[in-house]
Subunit: 124 residues, 2 copies
């Protein structure tokens, strides 16, 4: 039996508003030492995701607005989802983290390939 998303997701995570600047996103990524920041509305609903990779793309492409670089079609996970399903998404979409959302599309956590790989330490 695989662990569930709720067993290993991070419950403390940074989010950012869609009206933020690229510099705001870069500063948040730096300060939190993370690479994937969910973009949310005022009431915490998922609107997109912005990552360190997107900032690198903005530098290469000389983009200036967060809305130019954030990904709007977000691949998410659910709390009761088994972790092997998340791994298939990581592989299929070449992503390294997924926001965890509830039935109202509110972000309740983030699950990363870093955290999934740590399951190996204890055997499954």
């Amino acid at each position: 039996e695989y662990p569930l998303v709720k067993d290993i997701m991070r419950r403390k995570f940074a989010t950012i508003g869609a009206d933020a600047s690229i510099e705001d996103a870069a500063e948040l990524i730096m300060k939190t030492q993370t690479t994937h920041i969910p973009v949310v509305s005022a009431d915490g609903k998922l609107r997109g995701i912005v990552t360190a990779w997107d900032i690198a793309k903005a530098v290469a492409m000389k983009h200036h607005k967060l809305s130019d670089i954030m990904t709007k079609k977000v691949i998410t996970a659910a709390v009761e989802e088994p972790v092997d399903v998340v791994v298939r998404k990581i592989e299929h979409f070449n992503i390294s983290a997924l926001p965890v959302v509830d039935s109202a599309n509110k972000v309740v956590g983030v699950i990363t390939s870093d955290d999934i790989s740590k399951l190996l330490k204890n055997g499954w």
Copy 2:
């Protein structure tokens, strides 16, 4: 028994020279759809690592030179190392990928937490 680094490392990977610009690094990260680029000397020896996170930090801190942002003390892996040792390094240093080096410090591969998490799909 855990798999070894050589069983799951990537053998095709991008590298960059220490004299490159931040824009060069950003462009390479964008084109290769990866986040961790080993910085190497002309003969392929490891000199540092630059990541998408470092580019985000450069945007936040307004740095302009690659040597300002690359990490010079690189955490590496060896081909015969068991993967659980790599996972402990990922956890201890909060990193998501490690260059794999041979005894002459030449980069022969890259191992990522994305690839380690994929081991879960098949059970171990």
